[in-house]
Symmetry: C2
Amino acid sequence: MTHASVWPDGAPAATGTMTIGQLAARSGVAASALRYYERLGLIRAGRTGGNQRRYERAELRRVAFIRIAQQVGVSLEEIREALDSLPESRTPTAADWAQLSATWRNRLDERIRLIEKLRDNLTGCIGCGCLSLQKCALYNAGDALGAEGPGARLMLPR
Amino acid sequence: MTHASVWPDGAPAATGTMTIGQLAARSGVAASALRYYERLGLIRAGRTGGNQRRYERAELRRVAFIRIAQQVGVSLEEIREALDSLPESRTPTAADWAQLSATWRNRLDERIRLIEKLRDNLTGCIGCGCLSLQKCALYNAGDALGAEGPGARLMLPR
DNA sequence: CCTTGAGTTGAAGTGAACTTCAACTTGCAG
DNA sequence: CTGCAAGTTGAAGTTCACTTCAACTCAAGG
C-alpha cells in the first residue's frame, strides 16, 4: 500500500523520518519489539532503497499509545483492532475517533473503578485497624466476585 | 472412620471447607490454576486422608485478591511476596497490614493516574474534534514519554 | 575504498501464566 | 459393593510478548 513506498536515495523524504534505532531510543521500546509490532500490524514503516525501515514521526505517537494501552492490560491484538479502525490511507474522521474513543473510554473507566475498589479495600484495612481479614473489606470484595453469578470470571487481560 | 484424620483436633473439618472444584466454581478460577497458585505458594490447602485438597473459606479471599491484583498488572511473584508478608501461623498485626497496604496504595494510585491520563487524552480527541492526531493530546502524551529522559521506559509489568 | 556500527531476515529461545494429558485414586450415591 | 464424577500427579503443551542468534547487508565517516 501507500506505505510500502520506497524513498529515493538521498531524497528530502529523509527529513522528519527516523531509523528504527532512533524510534527505539525516543519511544523507549526495543528495536526488536518495534519489528514485532510491525509484523502484527500495529505500526508501519517506509523503506529506504537498501531495505531499511524509516519511520515517520506519527509512528512515535502510535508506539506511545500501544505502550500505554498495554499497561492498562489490553492485548496487542486488541490494540491492533483499535488502531486498525483508524484508516491508514486517509485522515481519520471525527466519527472514526469518536467510535474508537467511546469504546476505550468505557474500558478505561471500568478499569479505574476496579483499581479504586482494590485500593479502597486496602486502605480500609488500615483505617479500620483490623487485625485479621475475617471482617475486612477485602473479604467483601471476594464475596462480591462470587455474587457476580455462577462461573463468574473477572475480565482478565488474556 | 472418617477421612478427616488429617485435620487437627478432629475438628469438624468438613464444615466450612471446600473441594478444589467448589473453590474453582466460587472464585471463577480454574482448578488447574488453583493448583498452580498453590505450587507458587499463593494459596494453601489442607488435605484429606485420601490426599485431596480441602480449602478453608479464607482461601476464597486470597484468590479474589490474587485475581484483582493481576488485573492491576501485578505479577504472581509480586503477589506472592505481598501475601507472604501476611504471617501464616499467626493473625496479621496492624503493622503487617499497614506495610502491605501502603506499598500497594502507591502502586494503585500510580496506575489510576496513568489510566486517567490515557482516558482523558482519548476524550480530548472527541472533544477537540481533531481530524488527525497531529495536534491531538494523544500526541503530547507521546512527547511526554520522550521527555521522561533518555532511554525512558514506561513502567511495564515485566 | 575500507571499516564499522546500525540494520535486515527467519528461526529459535524465553518467561509468565496457565491448560492439557495420561494414568491413576477418592469419595459419595445408590 | 459398584459405578463414576471428581480429584491426584508430573510432564508436556499453549499463548503472549518479546529477545536472541546467525548470517548477512547498508550507510556514512575517514
